[in-house]
C-alpha cells in the first residue's frame, strides 16, 4: 500500500514562488543490511520523483540507497497559470504512487 502526501497552497499570485512539500511512506531498504539470520535484505528503495505542472516537468529527483526512510522532498516552482500539479514516485519492485493537486493562479 503506497502512501504519499503533498502540501502546497491552493491559490497563488501569478509569478509568485510556490513552496511544495511531498512525502512518501517508504522504508528505503538500502540493500546493505542483513537480517537476524545473516542473510542480506534485498534493496527496496524509491528511485525517482517527478513533478509536472499542467503536463510540463518542473522538478525531478533521483533517490539513492543513502536516502533516509520516508523521504520528504521540498522545492519551489513559479505560479504561471491555474491548473494541476502531478507528483509521481517510482522505485524498486514496481513501486509507484501519484498524487495531484490543483492551484488557482490569480
Amino acid at each position: 500500500m503506497a502512501r504519499t502526501r503533498v502540501q502546497m497552497p491552493t491559490e497563488a499570485k501569478k509569478g509568485e514562488l510556490v513552496r511544495i512539500r511531498a512525502i512518501a511512506a517508504h522504508q528505503m531498504e538500502t540493500g546493505f543490511r542483513n537480517n537476524e539470520r545473516g542473510a542480506s535484505i534485498p534493496r527496496d528503495i524509491i528511485t525517482a520523483f517527478r513533478c509536472t505542472y499542467n503536463g510540463v516537468e518542473v522538478f525531478r529527483a533521483d533517490l539513492f540507497p543513502a536516502t533516509a526512510a520516508n523521504p520528504l522532498i521540498e522545492f519551489t516552482t513559479l505560479a504561471t497559470e491555474s491548473g494541476t500539479l502531478r507528483f509521481e514516485w517510482s522505485g524498486d519492485n514496481g513501486f509507484s504512487a501519484a498524487d495531484s493537486a490543483s492551484i488557482t493562479v490569480v
Partner: protein
C-alpha cells in the same frame, strides 16, 4: 524550630538534586523538534493513520468508539486483577484473532493511533505500591558488564553526553516513537531493551513483567507530563 529548619533544608536539598523534569523533546536539536511538531513531516503520523485504518478493519469500534480512547494511553500501564498490563497488552487482550507480535507494524500502528488520541494530555498512571517498588528496584539496580543502573545515567547524568548523544531524563512521553536511528517506529520496550544492550546486559524479553514494571515506574515518574505520541527521537 531548629529541627523544623533542618527538615526543611533536607527537603530543599532533595529537591535540588532532582533536576527540573524535561521530556526528551527538550534535549533535541531545533530541526528534530520541528520534524516532530509538523504532522506533515513527522513520519510517525503514517503509523497513526495505519492504526486508524486498522481500528476500522479490525472492528474495534463495534464495542467502543474511537473517541473513548482519549486519555487511555495516559494511564497505562494499569493494574488489573493484580497484574500489570501495558497498552500493547491491553490492545492484544481485545484482539479476537490473537495477539499481534511485539514490534509488528500492526501493533505499533494501533498503539500509535490510540496514544495519539491522548496527545497533549497529562500522564496519570495509578500508584500501585507493589509495582512501583518493583519498577524502581529494576531502575536503580546495576546491570550488565558495564555495571550501571538506569538511574546512574538518567537521574545522575541527564543532560550530559554519552558519545554523541545527550542523555535524556528517560521520560516515556512519546511512545511509540519514530526513531531516526531505527529508521522506523518502535515501542517503549524496544527503547528500554536498547539501553540494556548498551549496558551489555541481557535485555528482558518483550512483554516480560520486568519491562512492564519499568514502563510503569517511568510513567509514574513522568506523572503530569504531556504525551507527545508520535514523538521523533534521534
Amino acid at each position: 524550630m531548629r529541627v523544623l529548619l533542618l527538615v526543611l533544608l533536607g527537603c530543599l536539598a532533595a529537591d535540588g538534586a532532582a533536576q527540573e523534569r524535561k521530556s526528551g523533546y527538550e534535549f533535541m536539536t531545533p530541526p528534530l523538534r520541528a520534524m516532530q511538531d509538523d504532522d506533515f513531516a513527522n513520519p510517525g503520523m503514517f503509523a497513526v493513520q495505519d492504526g486508524e485504518a486498522l481500528w476500522k478493519s479490525e472492528g474495534c469500534g463495534a464495542c467502543h468508539a474511537a473517541a473513548t480512547m482519549k486519555g487511555v494511553a495516559a494511564r497505562y500501564p494499569a493494574v488489573k486483577d493484580g497484574r500489570l498490563l501495558n497498552l500493547e497488552q491491553r490492545i492484544n487482550a481485545c484482539r479476537k484473532a490473537g495477539p499481534w507480535p511485539y514490534e509488528s507494524k500492526e501493533l505499533l500502528a494501533m498503539t500509535a493511533f490510540i496514544a495519539n488520541e491522548s496527545r497533549g494530555m497529562p500522564i496519570t498512571v495509578s500508584r500501585d505500591a507493589k509495582w512501583l517498588e518493583e519498577g524502581k528496584k529494576l531502575y536503580s539496580r546495576r546491570e550488565g558488564q558495564i555495571n550501571l543502573s538506569c538511574a546512574q545515567c538518567h537521574d545522575e547524568r541527564a543532560g550530559q553526553k554519552l558519545g554523541g548523544s545527550v542523555i535524556p531524563q528517560a521520560h516515556p512521553t512519546g511512545y511509540p516513537i519514530y526513531r531516526l536511528e531505527w529508521q522506523g517506529m518502535g515501542s517503549l520496550q524496544r527503547r528500554l531493551r536498547n539501553c540494556m544492550s548498551g549496558l551489555r546486559a541481557e535485555p528482558y524479553a518483550y512483554g516480560s513483567e520486568e519491562l512492564v514494571a519499568l514502563e510503569y515506574y517511568l510513567m509514574s515518574r513522568a506523572s503530569g507530563m504531556k504525551l507527545e505520541t508520535p514523538a521523533v527521537r534521534p
